[in-house]
Symmetry: C2
DNA sequence: AATTAATTAGACTAATTGGTCTAGTTGAGA
DNA sequence: TCTCAACTAGACCAATTAGTCTAATTAATT
């Protein structure tokens, strides 16, 4: 049966709250309220607010890693086409979100990357894990001569995905997808062979 | 003579504090302490903490706009070379800062862009102002056939500069310039004719 | 010299912060 | 069925939050 509350459910709610509002702008009490748990349970599950936030990032990062793996494994498109369809999907997802939240790993990196070593290294971990999946697809595209070989696959992956992060800064203040679409068109024009 | 304290000096100190620590992680009392002013003076000069932060971003943005204008006006390099030297300088600047702070406009966009309309529009204003300067240089480079004409100057400017913002997320958690240098090499390789 | 508005100074406030503590409850294993 | 650790519950705490208020001081204007 288990007890009343479940860590993963709390982490999922925490993901929403932290992604939308950031780290320092959210109090523990707000998390308790949104998750519907008493403080005792929170501190039974997590050592501190920091520990909670790190675990939120970890869970999201790992879930997303699995999702990405499945996405590319199941794709019947060519490598470059599957990459394009991946980023198209990511941009569309942000549209349904009114372009306001962005990516929690990016948000945490910028807000607390400098002042919190544990969060910094956890965010970096997730990013690298995604990067390796992208690099594999890029590598396949290079072998098929779809993608430029001027740079190696991992570099192109980092270029693409961090470039995508740059679009979030613009999106959050312009609140539209204009620049994300420009980024998409230019990036794929540049890396195509 | 004037009074004891000066708004611009407070804003300059505020720039340092907010850039390094973010918005919600800094209290008004900390600003008072670092600037050496009493609370009465702060609330005499600024309506609120938000008003203060917006004015910090405005002042930095405008100062930087002037600096960029002078940088490109005084440059004796060709357009693409002056762009390269500009970004080289920006990367070096972050190195002296131990790669921890980044750009305040980017930081504020990510941390409070979603939840604070005034800050969002002020950050966007500064970004656009920089963008226009970059676009002018890019346009010159396009006329000289140094830079690709596959995309218009403003699009390339936004692509370049927001891409550079993406590098900050990586920098803040990896705390080195590796990815910034990769970004630099790839971006200029891609936009060169 | 008198008046006035701007500025300085910091004590104070109500609300909120992250976190602790104790008491009671639950569920699984012996 | 008994035992014990995990969990639930929320009152409580010291510190901090953004912001207010009143009084004193300063500089410029009349």
């Amino acid at each position: 049966m288990g007890y009343k509350h479940n860590i993963d459910e709390i982490l999922d709610i925490g993901y929403d709250v932290l992604r939308k509002n950031g780290y320092h702008n959210v109090g523990v009490n707000q998390i308790l309220k949104e998750a519907g748990i008493p403080k005792g349970s929170f501190y039974n599950f997590f050592e501190s607010k920091e520990d909670f936030a790190v675990k939120v990032v970890k869970r999201y990062g790992e879930t997303n890693t699995e999702w990405m793996k499945a996405f590319f494994d199941n794709s019947e498109l060519s490598p470059i086409e599957s990459l394009q369809s991946f980023y198209k999907f990511m941009i569309d997802t942000n549209e349904t979100d009114d372009y306001l939240s962005g990516c929690i790993v990016n948000n945490m990196s910028i807000e607390v990357g400098r002042i919190n070593n544990i969060m910094a290294s956890k965010a970096n971990e997730q990013f690298i894990s995604w990067l390796n999946i992208l690099a594999q697809v890029i590598s396949k595209g290079q072998n098929l001569k779809e993608i430029t070989t001027k740079f190696n696959a991992l570099e192109i992956a980092e270029y693409l995905h961090a470039g995508f992060y740059g679009t979030f800064s613009r999106m959050k203040v312009t609140r539209n997808r204009t620049y994300m679409d420009i980024w998409y068109n230019m990036s794929f024009e540049f890396i195509k062979n």
